[in-house]
């Protein structure tokens, strides 16, 4: 049985909840069971923010992430809160701006210039979630390029399609 428990954490406004919705959509395209939820409330409007999605071959009981298999942190605070005490097999992805202490020894660990890619290569900070989705799909192999493209297009505002597809591509390109 395959079950992925994915948590994306960062700052309100980075669109990470939409990011998890897109990943859930990709799961649906792959005929998986999905459960997506988020931390709601004032923290979703500027403070710390977290979105979660479970993608599984089997029906999902409990809908919240309990044993993450993938965590992404885009802010220092979210790194400190969510990237410790994880299972060995959990994959941790952080932005290159995160100050990771020398003694941090999580094995499956990757640092990528996600924020910089959105800001400089794509040219729009708001696309940081789509850059992330591109990178995550490349790392996890959730679905085909076509499916992830379709999932993105379902959840981005009209008129921003081209920009977001560029973000998706640039995100994927970060993962060598």
């Amino acid at each position: 049985m395959s079950k992925m428990e994915i948590r994306l954490a960062g700052t309100g406004g980075q669109g990470l909840i939409t990011g998890t919705i897109i990943l859930a959509e990709a799961g649906i395209f792959e005929n998986k069971f999905v459960a997506q939820s988020q931390s709601y409330g004032p923290e979703a409007r500027g403070g710390m923010c977290k979105g979660e999605v479970i993608i599984s071959d089997e029906r999902i009981g409990f809908t919240k992430v309990t044993k993450p298999t993938f965590v992404m942190a885009l802010s220092q605070l979210s790194f400190e809160k969510y990237c410790f005490g994880l299972d060995e097999d959990c994959f941790v992805l952080v932005d290159e701006t995160i100050d990771v202490p020398k003694e941090y020894d999580h094995k499956k660990f990757m640092k990528l210039p996600i924020l910089a890619t959105a800001r400089e290569k794509v040219g729009k900070m708001q696309t940081v979630n789509i850059v992330s989705v591109g990178a995550i799909n490349k790392i996890l192999g959730l679905c085909s390029d076509e499916s992830i493209k379709e999932a993105v297009l379902l959840h981005v505002p009209k008129g921003t399609e081209e920009l977001n597809l560029k973000a998706l591509y640039e995100g994927a390109a970060l993962v060598k």
């Binding site: 799961g27 999905v34 997506q36 939820s37 709601y40 409330g41 009981g61 409990f62 809908t63």
Partner: protein, 376 residues
């Protein structure tokens, strides 16, 4: 079966309502039910229906009842504080027998409480929140798919029995996104309230034939021209101080539900055949329970689930039957023990019933339920 779509519980509730034929929504913004209002604002005019954002919760409940009196299936949705405000006109709809669906996406209370946190603290309010003796049906969905399908059922029961139905959601299912299969048109039955063949000569609106408990009346505008009042009334819809009529009217309202339990009640039983322990749960909490049961079964613990889907009326007979078979019952709910009271009451058992509850706004985890079952 249609294609699987990713949908949020609150959105599925909107789509279920539309599928059921709901064409009027009145509401007031409140977390965590706001997506239902937002969804209806977009969708209602697309299907020729009407949406209105009222000045407050009281007014939105009133407007929904008004629309239904005029023959249009209607809905309003809210959460905790708004549910308190809607109680006034909920009672009005019970007594006047105007069908409508009242959605309560429960959040942590009391008062403004924790607006974005899950809770199931409105179980007893759903039953007893409006004053006076009255019937109520309350249905609690546990999945996004059920947010759709059971919303259709809520409308059907409301129309059939001419009574308000509370769709008792919670933040867990309301804000959850899952894949759901949208039923094709015609796949789920749709019930419309019975109306007289010739409204103009139909006579007393609230008259019921021998052996029947639900009156047959036409919506406003079809020529029956009757009176609706929140005062105790006779068959003709006019106020009366007759103690006999008061007695027979209130008792008929209650019998409307009590005499039709076979049709109204629904519940889920899971892994109970050989179970020593039964976990009783409803709504979003069931999701934690399913995971806990899976873990426990893998460890060889004989545990099963009883999930009332109609929280009100409570499936009392079924609860008693199960209680007679298992060694232990654990009630798990996001409150300080509300359904627990009902389980204790209907089974008459107290020592045999354990409880897992939470009032801190966090979800009950599968581990907490596993622990409770193991500790007995």
């Amino acid at each position: 079966m249609g294609k699987v779509k990713l949908m949020q519980g609150n959105e599925a509730c909107v789509e279920g309502a539309l599928y059921a034929g709901c064409r009027f929504y009145a509401g007031y913004p409140i977390t965590p039910s706001t997506e239902i209002a937002e969804g209806c604002a977009v969708r209602m005019p697309q299907v020729g229906g009407h949406f209105i954002q009222m000045e407050d919760e009281i007014a939105s409940c009133a407007a929904a009842i008004g629309a239904s009196a005029a023959g249009v299936k209607s809905m309003t949705a809210t959460s905790g504080p708004g549910f308190s405000l809607k109680q006034e006109n909920l009672g009005y709809a019970c007594l006047t027998e105007v069908p409508f669906v009242l959605v309560d996406v429960q959040r942590a209370g009391p008062s403004t409480g924790l607006p974005t946190s899950p809770s199931q603290g409105d179980v007893m309010q759903a039953k007893w929140g409006t004053h006076g003796d009255h019937p109520i049906i309350a249905i609690a969905p546990s999945t996004v798919e059920e947010c759709f399908r059971l919303c259709v059922r809520a409308f059907n029961l409301s129309e059939k029995y001419r009574t308000p139905v509370i769709f008792l959601m919670d933040e867990i299912v309301g804000h959850l996104r899952e894949g759901i299969e949208i039923p094709e048109d015609g796949e789920l039955p749709i019930v419309n309230r019975a109306i007289p063949a010739d409204p103009a000569s139909a006579g007393h609106a609230y008259a019921t034939k021998e052996g029947q408990t639900v009156p047959v009346m036409a919506p406003f505008g079809m020529g029956q021209r009757y009176n609706i009042t929140g005062l105790i009334h006779a068959d003709d819809g006019f106020p009366t101080n007759s103690t006999d009529i008061a007695d027979s009217q209130v008792k008929r309202l209650i019998r409307k539900i009590d005499d039709n339990l076979d049709d109204i009640l629904s519940w889920e039983e899971k892994d109970l055949d050989d179970a020593d322990v039964c976990v009783v749960c409803f709504g979003g909490t069931a999701r934690s329970v399913y995971s806990a049961v899976e873990t426990l079964r893998n460890e060889g613990v004989k545990v099963g689930v009883f999930r009332p889907i109609t929280v009100w009326p409570f499936p009392a007979e079924e609860m008693r039957r199960i209680a007679g078979k298992v060694k232990k019952i654990i009630v798990a709910e996001h409150n300080d023990g509300q359904m627990l009271l009902e389980v204790q009451r209907v089974t008459g058992l107290y020592d045999k019933i354990g409880f897992v509850g939470k009032v801190n706004g966090t979800v009950i985890t599968p581990e907490e339920i596993v622990k409770a079952v193991k500790e007995g």
